[in-house]
C-alpha cells in the first residue's frame, strides 16, 4: 500500500524524488472545484487536532459529510498524563470516547488505521482494505519516534523502558514501574532534542514524580539526562523545584544534567542503563524513561508529506500541504513554529483549518481572511503549584504564523501558583470538552 502511495507522489512531483517544496502544489481556484452533492471531508486522527477539526467543520457547515478515522476506540490525553504518573488522578479521568461527536454532531467515526493516501484519486486506504473518498482531507496524526537516534532502543522495548509520550497504555506501564520502585531508587528521564511535542512536558513529569517520591519514597532520586542545553519555563521550574523539592541543596531530590553531558546516545534496555555525554558514561536506573527525538506521524511519511526536517510543510492560512493539494495537515505533524507542538495549538489550528476548508468547499476564498491563534501550556510543579506560558499568534505578511508582539509570556516570578494550578485543571476539562464534546 505504501508503494501505491509513493507512486502517486512521484507522479505528483513530476517524477523527481526530491519533492519540490515551492508551494506550487496548492489546489486550484476554489470555484473550479465546486461540485454537486454534499462535500466530503475525511479527517484522520481523533486527537486534539483531528477531533476539533471534525467538530468545527460541522459547526461551520452542517451540510458537509465529515468522516473521522481514528485507530483507537477511546482517546487518552497526554495533557494530564503526568498528573496520573504522579498519582494525582486516575487515567479514566483523562480518557474520552467519540460518542458525543457521533451523536451530537453527526460525525461518521471509523475506527481503523489509514495506511495510504491516493492524492490523485482523492481517497484514503484503510488497513481493513476499504477506501474512503474525500473532497478535502485533514490529517492530524500526531508524532512518531526517531528510534534510530538512540542506540539499543527500539519500538519493541517500550514495555521495559517506556517513553510514555503517547498517553494510554504507556502511561500505565510507567506509572506501575514508578509505583513498584523501591524507596531509594533512581528515576532517570531522557528528554528529547527540539522540536518535540509539549516542550515543558518532561519537566512537569519530573515535578510530579518528585511530589510522589517526597510523600511515598523520600530516599529516591530523579536524574534528568537532557539532550538540550536548556528547556521551556526553566526559571519557573527551577524556582518551583527549590520551593518544593530542595533543588540546588545537597538534599535535592532532582538533578539536571544539560547537553552535551546529559545527552543520551545509547541505552541498555535489560539493565536499564543509559549512556550519556561525549564519554558515554553509564548511568544505571531503577526506572528508565526515554523520550526519543520525534518526527511527524507515520502516515505523513508514508504519504510523502514531510520534508527533510521530518515534519510537514503547510500553508499557515489554510494548513494545506505544500506537497499535496486538497490535503491539510494540522497539529504536531505540521511545521507550525513559532506555535509549539501542543494540544492547545492543535485545537486552535483545527478551527482555522476547518473554517478555511468549509469556505473553500463552498467555492469561496479561504476564511477567515485574518486568522488568529492562541497557545497556552499550563504545568503543575506540585498539586497546588501551577505555572504557564502563553502567546497570541497572527499571520505575518509573509503568510506564516508569527507571534503578536507584546502579547504572551511566562507566569510572573511572584504570580499566584495556587490559582494557576486550579486553572490548569479546569483548562484540561474545558479544552477536552471543546474537542470531544463529552464534558
Amino acid at each position: 500500500m505504501a508503494k501505491l502511495n509513493r507512486r502517486n507522489f512521484l507522479k505528483l512531483a513530476g517524477g523527481s524524488t526530491g519533492l519540490a517544496l515551492t508551494g506550487c502544489a496548492s489546489s486550484p481556484t476554489p470555484k473550479a472545484t465546486k461540485k454537486a452533492g454534499p462535500a466530503k471531508v475525511v479527517v484522520v486522527g481523533g486527537g486534539f487536532g483531528g477531533a476539533s477539526a471534525a467538530k468545527y467543520l460541522k459547526k461551520f457547515d452542517p451540510s458537509i459529510q465529515v468522516t473521522l478515522i481514528e485507530y483507537n476506540k477511546t482517546f487518552t490525553t497526554c495533557p494530564g498524563s503526568n498528573w496520573v504518573l504522579g498519582g494525582l488522578r486516575d487515567i479514566d479521568s483523562i480518557t474520552h470516547s467519540y460518542d458525543a461527536l457521533i451523536n451530537k454532531y453527526g460525525i461518521n467515526v471509523i475506527h481503523d488505521w489509514v495506511s495510504a493516501i491516493d492524492v490523485d484519486g482523492k481517497n484514503v486506504r484503510l488497513a481493513s482494505g476499504s477506501k474512503v473518498e474525500y473532497d478535502r482531507l485533514i490529517l492530524s496524526p500526531g508524532i512518531d519516534f526517531r528510534y534510530d537516534t538512540i542506540e539499543g532502543y527500539t519500538a519493541n522495548d517500550v514495555n521495559m523502558v517506556p517513553h510514555a509520550w503517547k498517553a494510554g497504555s504507556q502511561t500505565t506501564v510507567l506509572r506501575n514501574q514508578i509505583a513498584s520502585m523501591r524507596d531509594g531508587g533512581v528515576f532517570v528521564i531522557a528528554p528529547p532534542p527540539n522540536p518535540f511535542r509539549c516542550p515543558p512536558g518532561p519537566y512537569e513529569r519530573v515535578s510530579l514524580i518528585a511530589n510522589y517520591f517526597k510523600k511515598h519514597k523520600p530516599k529516591s532520586k530523579i536524574l534528568i539526562l537532557d539532550a538540550k542545553p536548556k528547556f521551556s519555563k526553566q526559571k519557573l521550574f527551577v524556582k518551583g523545584w527549590k520551593d518544593l523539592y530542595g533543588y540546588g541543596t545537597d538534599k535535592s531530590m532532582i538533578e539536571f544534567v544539560a547537553a552535551p553531558d546529559g545527552k543520551v546516545s545509547k541505552v541498555d534496555v535489560k539493565s536499564k542503563t543509559a549512556y550519556a555525554g561525549p564519554l558515554e558514561e553509564a548511568v544505571k536506573a531503577d526506572v528508565l524513561n526515554v523520550v526519543p527525538a520525534q518526527k511527524a506521524g507515520e502516515l505523513a511519511h508514508a504519504a510523502g508529506l514531510t520534508d527533510k526536517s521530518g515534519w510537514c510543510p503547510v500553508n499557515h492560512h489554510t494548513w494545506e500541504s505544500k506537497v499535496a493539494p486538497f490535503v491539510h495537515v494540522i497539529g504536531d505533524s505540521a511545521i507550525q513554529a513559532p506555535l509549539p507542538k501542543s494540544g492547545y495549538a492543535a485545537n486552535s489550528e483545527a478551527k482555522i483549518c476547518a473554517a478555511a476548508v468549509a469556505s473553500m468547499l463552498a467555492g469561496k476564498d479561504p476564511e477567515p481572511h485574518v486568522p488568529s491563534w492562541v497557545n497556552t501550556c499550563y504545568s503543575l510543579v506540585g498539586p497546588q503549584y501551577g505555572i504557564s506560558v502563553a502567546m497570541v499568534y497572527n499571520l505575518t505578511k509573509e503568510g506564516k504564523v508569527g507571534k503578536v508582539k507584546g502579547s504572551g509570556g511566562l507566569t510572573p516570578m511572584d504570580g499566584n501558583r495556587q490559582l494557576e494550578a486550579l486553572y490548569a485543571e479546569n483548562w484540561l476539562l474545558n479544552i477536552s470538552n471543546d474537542t470531544w464534546a463529552d464534558g
Binding site: E367, V392, G408, N426, N430
Partner: protein
C-alpha cells in the same frame, strides 16, 4: 475641497462594503473568540474555575479586556492574552461574546 473629501469617503465606503459578504461568517470577533474556548469552555461555557464567557455583556467584555490590556485590572493570565489584540479586535470580540 469639501466635495473632494466626500467623494473619497464614499469610495472608501464602497470598497469596505464590497468586502462585507466574505467577512460575514468569520469576522475577527468570531475568529479570535473561538481561540478563547480552550480555557473558557466550548461555546463559552466553562466546566470549572475559569469564568464562563457565555452570558457576559458586550460592555463587560470590552471593559475587562481593555483593563487587562492596560494593566488596570490584573489576572493570572488575561493580561498576557489581552495584550495580543488591538482595540478594534477587542470591540469585535466583545460583540461575538455577547452573542453566544
Amino acid at each position: 475641497m469639501m466635495k473632494h473629501r466626500t467623494l473619497l469617503a464614499t469610495a472608501l465606503l464602497v470598497a469596505a462594503a464590497s468586502l462585507q459578504p466574505l467577512m460575514a461568517d468569520h469576522d475577527s470577533g468570531r475568529t479570535i473568540g473561538l481561540t478563547c474556548f480552550g480555557c473558557h469552555g466550548a461555546d463559552g461555557v466553562s466546566l470549572g474555575a475559569v469564568p464562563s464567557m457565555k452570558g457576559m455583556s458586550e460592555e463587560h467584555v470590552r471593559t475587562a479586556m481593555t483593563d487587562f490590556k492596560s494593566g488596570k485590572r490584573s489576572g493570572t493570565i488575561m493580561n498576557r492574552i489581552a495584550k495580543g489584540y488591538t482595540d478594534d479586535q477587542i470591540k469585535a470580540l466583545a460583540k461575538f461574546v455577547a452573542g453566544l
